[in-house]
C-alpha cells in the first residue's frame, strides 16, 4: 500500500520496538491501568472478565512497556504539532480570542474487519434508503401517499425546502457526504444514533489523528494490518466530479463561511488535499444563472460547489436575506442546472429526531431489505402501543420533543422526580405526536490516556460515507471521546476529544 511506503516512521519518542511484557494487563490493578473502571457499558479493549481482547494485545504490551513520562512526552508532542499546524478552534471570552486544539488521544480505537464489514454494508444500505426517501419527498411523495410516514412530519419540518421540489439531482444523490454517528450498545453491537446529512464535519480530524497514532506507535501500526484512509480526499474529489456530466476541466470549489468558522481548518485542508479552490461567498458571483469566481485574470466559471454553509445562509435571495455568507442568485443557477451543489439543499429534513425513528421502515419500504444496522430503540408516542409503553416506563426512558433541540423539552426519566414525571406524562398525552422516547443511551468505553495513566472513557464512532455515481466508505472513522470521567458528551465544544480509528484488514 502506498501509505506503507511513505509512512512517516519518525517517532515522537524513542524506537518503537514491540517489546511485550509477556503478560496481559489487568484493568484496575496494573499500571498504567490502575484506575481503569469496567462498568456496565461495553469496553472496547477489555472483556467483562478483565481480559484484553486479542485485537488490543499489541497496543497493550507496547503501552505497558513505556514509562508514563514517555507517554506524556508523546502526548505533548502531539498537542504541540496540532498547535503548529493550526488544527485549532477559537474560543471567544471577554473579547479575548483563545486558540484551542481539539484534544487528540494517542491510543487508537480498533475496529475488526468483521465489524467494519457490517458497518459498511449497513451505512451503504442506509444512505441508499435516505436518498431514495429524499428524492421521493421532493418529487412524487409516494411514501406519504402510502402512509409510511405522516405527511405533517415532512411538510411541517423546518428543514423541508419547498424550493427543491421537482429539481433533478444527479444520480438521485441528494446526500453526497454523510457522517453518521454510531455507538456500541452494552451487547457490543454498533447501532446508529444520528444521521448527519447536512454539512457533517470531522473528516480532517480523522486524517490528522492517523498521523498522530502512526507516529506514536509505528511498529504496532505496521504489524496490525491497519487499512489506509489517506485516499479520502481523492474519493471525495471523484464523488464531486461524478455530479457533472462533464469530465474534462471540471471546476470545483469548496464554499466556506470563512476563517472564523470552527471547521475552517477542515475546509482549507480538504481544498489543499484535493487541489480545488477554497472560496467564500464574496468570491462568487452569479450572472445569467452561471456561477463565477473573481480571479486576477478575470471571471472563471464554477461547475461544482462543495458547500460547507447551511441551507439557510446559502442564497440571500431565496433563504435568509440577512446572510452575508452566501451568494445571491446561487439557487437559481442550481435550479437551472448550471452548477451542482453538494450536499443538495433540503437534506436536513431526513435527519431530524422524528424521521430518524422511521429510517428502519424506510429501508424496508424502498429496498425491501431488513436494516443491517439498527437504530437506538425509539418509541414514537404518536403510535398508541408505543405511547402506552412510554407512559408505563417513564422512569426508565428519555423523552424528547421532536421539534426541539439542545436539551429543551426533554425528560430524563431515571433522574426525574415522581412529580416531574407525572407533569410530563400530561404533556405527552396532550400532544403525543410531538414526542419520542429512547432508553438511556450507553456509549462504549475505550482506553484513553489521561496524564497519570490510562482510563476508560466513553466513545462514539463517526464514519464518513460518500455517495455520488457510487457509494464509498473509506475504512476509518472519527472516534470521538468524552474526556471527562463518566461523561457521555463527546462534542468538541463540551470537552470532547478524538482518537484514531484503526480498521483492520483481517
Amino acid at each position: 500500500m502506498q501509505h506503507e511506503v511513505f509512512a512517516n516512521t519518525e517517532d515522537f519518542g524513542g524506537p518503537d520496538i514491540v517489546a511485550g511484557t509477556g503478560r496481559i494487563s489487568q484493568p484496575g490493578v496494573d499500571a498504567p491501568y490502575a484506575n481503569y473502571e469496567l462498568g456496565k457499558p461495553f469496553d472496547e479493549m477489555f472483556s467483562r472478565d478483565g481480559q484484553a481482547r486479542a485485537t488490543y494485545a499489541a497496543i497493550d504490551s507496547r503501552v505497558s512497556s513505556l514509562p508514563l513520562e514517555e507517554l506524556n512526552r508523546r502526548q505533548q508532542a502531539v498537542e504541540q504539532s496540532f498547535l503548529h499546524q493550526g488544527i485549532t478552534f477559537t474560543v471567544y471570552n471577554d473579547n479575548q480570542a483563545t486558540e484551542r486544539i481539539i484534544p487528540t488521544d494517542l491510543l487508537p480505537r480498533i475496529v475488526t474487519a468483521r465489524e467494519w464489514d457490517r458497518i459498511e454494508r449497513g451505512l451503504t444500505q442506509r444512505i441508499h434508503a435516505l436518498n431514495l426517501f429524499l428524492r421521493d419527498i421532493y418529487t412524487d411523495g409516494r411514501v406519504l401517499k402510502d402512509g409510511v410516514i405522516p405527511r405533517s412530519m415532512i411538510y411541517g419540518s423546518k428543514h423541508y425546502r419547498r424550493e427543491m421540489r421537482g429539481i433533478p439531482v444527479p444520480h438521485g444523490a441528494y446526500v453526497n457526504i454523510c457522517g453518521s454517528d454510531l455507538i456500541r450498545n452494552e451487547a457490543g453491537d454498533f447501532v446508529v444514533l444520528e444521521d448527519n446529512l447536512r454539512v457533517p464535519s470531522g473528516v480532517s480530524y480523522m486524517l490528522a489523528n492517523r498521523d498522530v497514532a502512526r507516529r506514536a506507535f509505528p511498529a504496532v501500526f505496521r504489524s496490525m494490518g491497519v487499512r489506509p484512509i489517506e485516499h479520502y480526499p481523492l474519493e471525495l474529489l471523484a464523488t464531486l466530479r461524478s455530479l457533472t456530466p462533464f469530465h474534462e476541466d471540471v471546476s470545483i470549489a469548496i464554499l466556506t463561511p470563512g476563517v472564523f468558522n470552527s471547521a475552517y481548518f477542515e475546509h482549507a485542508f480538504l481544498a489543499r488535499q484535493m487541489g480545488v479552490e477554497l472560496v467564500e461567498g464574496r468570491d462568487l458571483l452569479v450572472n445569467d444563472n452561471v456561477v463565477y469566481t473573481r480571479t486576477t485574470s478575470g471571471l472563471k466559471r464554477i461547475d461544482v460547489i462543495y458547500r460547507r454553509i447551511d441551507d439557510d445562509f446559502i442564497d440571500p435571495l431565496i433563504f435568509r436575506e440577512d446572510s452575508a455568507l452566501g451568494v445571491p442568485g446561487l439557487f437559481n443557477a442550481y435550479r437551472a442546472g448550471n452548477v451542482m451543489i453538494a450536499n443538495a439543499l433540503g437534506t436536513g429534513v431526513a435527519d431530524d429526531k422524528a424521521v430518524y425513528a422511521y429510517v428502519p421502515r424506510l429501508i424496508r419500504y424502498y429496498l425491501a431489505e431488513e436494516p443491517i444496522l439498527d437504530n437506538v430503540e425509539t418509541f414514537l408516542c404518536r403510535e398508541e402501543k408505543s405511547l402506552q409503553h412510554v407512559l408505563g416506563n417513564l422512569d426508565k426512558l428519555v423523552v424528547k420533543a421532536v421539534g426541539e433541540s439542545g436539551g429543551y423539552g426533554m425528560l430524563i426519566g431515571p433522574h426525574a422526580s415522581t412529580k416531574e414525571r407525572e407533569d410530563f406524562a400530561e404533556k405527552i398525552r396532550a400532544d403525543p405526536e410531538n414526542y419520542i422516547a429512547q432508553p438511556t443511551i450507553q456509549l462504549s468505553t475505550a482506553p484513553t490516556f489521561v496524564g497519570n495513566g490510562i482510563e476508560a472513557r466513553h466513545v462514539d464512532l463517526r464514519p464518513f460515507i460518500l455517495h455520488g455515481a457510487e457509494t464509498k466508505l473509506v475504512p476509518g472513522a472519527l472516534t470521538r471521546v468524552a474526556l471527562k470521567r463518566g461523561s457521555l458528551v463527546v462534542n468538541s465544544s463540551q470537552g470532547g476529544g478524538s482518537k484514531d480509528t484503526w480498521v483492520l484488514s483481517q
Partner: protein, 313 residues
C-alpha cells in the same frame, strides 16, 4: 488565482517583510547603543522610531526599554513586530490552501513563540538575542517559501508584497537619515555605519567601496546597486519582473495600466544619478519612488483584485 487569495498573499508578504525589517532595526539598535553616548543613542532611537512608525519624537530622554516594547510588542502600535506578524498570520490563515504546510507552520510557530513574550523576560539577559533568533526564523521562512511553493502566480504576489514593502521601509529609513544630515545635529560616522547594518549592507558595501564610510557612497549603494537584495534598485527590478508574471490571462488594457507604471518606476531608478541627488535631493528622489510604488499598488488592485465584475461580463 482568486483575487482574494492574491490579496491575502500580497499582504501576508508585506507584513512579513515589515516584521523582518522591524526585528532587524531593533536588534541592530540594541546591539549598537552600548557603543554610543546617551545623546547619540537617543537621537538614533528617535530616527528608528520615526522610520518605523512615521511619528517624529523628541529624543529628550532615552528609554530603550519603552521604545523596544512599543516597537516590538505593543499591539496598539499598528506597525509593531507582533502586530505585523499577527496580521501576516491572519492573512496566511485565509489562504492556507495556497501555502505549503512548511510555510504556514514556520510562520505560525514564530508567531506563537513571540506572542507570549514579555519585555521583562528578555531584558534581563541579552535583549537583542530574541530579535536575532526571530530574524533567523524569518530567513528560514523565506527559505521554505522559496523552496516549497511553486514559483507561479501566487509566489509572484508574495514577491510583489515583499518588494513594495521593502522599497517603502528602505525609503523611510534613508529619508530620516539623509534629512537629518541636512541639519546641524545629523548622523555621525557611527550612525552611518549602523545604517548599513540596518540594511544588512555593511559587508556588501565594504566589498564595493572598502571600509571608507561616506554618505554619498551609502546612498549610491542602497539606492542604485542592482545586485544587493536590500537596495531600492534590486527591489524595483524584482517587482517589475513580478508584475510581468501575475494575472497572465487579464485583458491587455488592464495589464497595460499596471505595466506602464512599473516601466516608469524602473526608468527612474535605472537612470537616477547619485551626484545629482546629494544636495538635498535624496529625500525628494525617495518621495518620488515611494509615490510611484503607491500608484503601482493602487493599479494592481484596480486591475486584478477589486475590478468591477460588470466590466468583464
Amino acid at each position: 488565482m482568486l483575487s482574494r487569495v492574491a490579496d491575502s498573499l500580497y499582504w501576508m508578504s508585506r507584513y512579513i517583510e515589515r516584521a523582518e525589517h522591524t526585528a532587524r532595526l531593533i536588534a541592530v539598535k540594541l546591539e549598537s547603543m552600548v557603543e554610543q553616548t546617551p545623546e547619540d543613542a537617543a537621537a538614533s532611537w528617535a530616527r528608528v522610531t520615526q522610520s518605523l512608525t512615521g511619528i517624529k519624537t523628541a529624543p529628550l530622554h532615552l528609554d530603550a526599554f519603552a521604545i523596544t516594547r512599543h516597537l516590538a510588542f505593543d499591539r496598539d502600535n499598528d506597525n509593531s513586530l507582533i502586530t505585523s506578524l499577527s496580521l501576516a498570520r491572519d492573512n496566511a490563515r485565509q489562504v492556507r490552501e495556497a501555502l505549503s504546510n512548511e510555510v504556514w507552520e514556520n510562520l505560525n510557530r514564530l508567531y506563537l513563540r513571540l506572542a507570549p513574550v514579555t519585555m521583562d523576560s528578555i531584558w534581563v539577559h541579552t535583549p537583542a538575542r530574541l530579535f536575532r533568533e526571530s530574524l533567523e526564523e524569518m530567513h528560514a521562512l523565506e527559505g521554505v517559501t522559496y523552496s516549497t511553493l511553486s514559483h507561479g502566480e501566487g509566489w509572484y504576489f508574495l514577491e510583489l508584497g515583499r518588494h513594495i514593502e521593502r522599497v517603502q521601509q528602505l525609503g523611510r529609513l534613508l529619508d530620516v537619515h539623509f534629512t537629518a544630515a541636512q541639519t546641524g545635529n545629523g548622523p555621525k560616522y557611527f550612525d552611518w555605519l549602523v545604517l548599513l547594518k540596518f540594511c544588512t549592507a555593511f559587508e556588501p558595501y565594504t566589498k564595493q567601496y572598502t571600509a571608507s564610510i561616506r554618505p554619498q557612497k551609502i546612498a549610491e549603494f542602497l539606492l542604485f546597486d542592482s545586485e544587493f537584495p536590500h537596495s531600492i534598485c534590486f527591489s524595483v527590478d524584482r517587482l517589475t519582473e513580478a508584475l510581468a508574471r501575475v494575472a497572465p490571462g487579464a485583458p491587455p488594457a488592464r495589464r497595460a495600466a499596471v505595466e506602464r507604471l512599473a516601466g516608469r518606476l524602473k526608468a527612474a531608478v535605472d537612470f537616477g544619478q547619485v551626484d545629482e541627488l546629494m544636495s538635498g535631493g535624496v529625500a525628494a528622489f525617495i518621495a518620488d519612488i515611494t509615490k510611484q510604488c503607491e500608484q503601482i499598488h493602487k493599479a494592481l488592485y484596480s486591475s486584478y483584485i477589486t475590478y468591477g465584475a460588470e466590466t468583464v461580463l
